[in-house]
Amino acid sequence: MSKYEDEDFIALSSFIKELAQVDYYLEEQFEDKTIAAHVKSVEIESPCQMDVAVDESGNVSIGTIPPMYYVSTSFMPVFHNIKLTIDTELDGNNE
């Protein structure tokens, strides 16, 4: 059972890991050559829903998810904002 109010919420670390899945090359054939490009840096700014759960001993668990519903309702969910900067690491060294 999820520790968050809504089971669709995931831990913040999983959310960040999902956003960092950009490790692929964009390839294009040109005559007899292949041109490849990769993402150097990504800056993501997104509204998100958050669920901050507190257990009996005061420990905090942060659950988050991108906005789930797109239909306007009388009680709109609260949208927080998350901004992430993800940079390339080639062979463990920053470019």
Binding site: S13, D23, V52, V54, V78, N81, N94
Partner: protein
């Protein structure tokens, strides 16, 4: 069971946020072992809608719920920091010879809070402040009394490092009779002069170190059977040893 919409303090939230970020970074670092092209999280900026409350001591927050208006906005920015920067800007952890003020029950919560505000978290921190002749009462608005506190902290430090006697030897020669005591933490604080009493009479303490005591027994009466050694090493420590010479001789024979 964790429940939502319960108030939390910023420290717990940041702890959790950093753990989550570390988890994400660790996964990406593992991925980097096999894949030459990977990504690292450089910065995280979180803007949250919250309702803060202040109970006179602590500020706590509740996350805004659907339909709630007028929430405050708090922005948390976490940037990358290298291990060298961490070493430069943070204190090392409390060592085994030091005592954290958190574990001392005799110090009330208000005093602990005042000490934390001025960066004192252990007995050694307080010693450093005393050496610089800082007026701790003035800084803490007379909430912290140094003398009282120093005694409590020294007592706590002594409790966590009790004296241990491992061996007692009698050295009888023409020049005099000496008792040698070996152990650990026999003398902890050199600012006090230790005192030794043998069979109720004050004895001359020739040498006194952390792991070694030499007591001159020339003026003391040494009995064949029961002898008693009492050492006062500081205002918080008295240790008494019963020495049965005859029994010891019998056993060794």
């Amino acid at each position: 069971m964790a429940t939502t919409n319960r108030s939390w303090n910023l420290e717990s939230f940041l702890d959790s946020l950093i753990v989550e970020l570390d988890k994400a970074r660790e996964t990406l670092a593992i991925k980097a072992i096999n894949k030459p092209l990977t990504y690292a999280v450089k910065d995280v900026n979180l803007e949250m809608q919250l309702f803060p409350s202040f109970d006179g001591n602590d500020v706590r927050f509740v996350t805004a719920q659907p339909g709630q208006q007028g929430a405050s906005k708090i922005a948390i920015q976490l940037g990358s920091i290298t291990d060298q920067q961490i070493r430069k800007t943070t204190k090392g952890p409390t060592t085994t010879e030091d005592v954290s003020i958190e574990v001392i029950d005799e110090i009330d919560d208000d005093t602990k809070k005042e000490l934390r505000k001025i960066g004192v978290t252990s007995v050694n921190d307080l010693d450093k402040i005393q050496k610089k002749r800082v007026d701790i009462e003035k800084i803490s608005n007379k909430k912290v009394n140094y003398g009282k506190l120093a005694n409590l902290l020294n007592k706590a430090r002594r409790t966590s490092n009790p004296p241990v006697i491992k061996n007692v030897n009698f050295n009888i020669s023409r020049s005099g009779t000496m008792m040698q005591v070996e152990g650990s933490n026999l003398i902890l604080d050199t600012k006090y002069t230790p005192v030794a009493v043998v069979n109720g009479k004050l004895a001359d303490l020739k040498e006194a170190t952390k792991d070694h005591l030499v007591i001159d027994l020339s003026n003391a009466e040494v009995n064949d059977e029961e002898n008693e050694l009492v050492v006062v090493s500081d205002p918080f420590t008295i240790y008494k040893v019963k020495l049965d010479l005859k029994k010891k001789t019998d056993e060794s024979a």
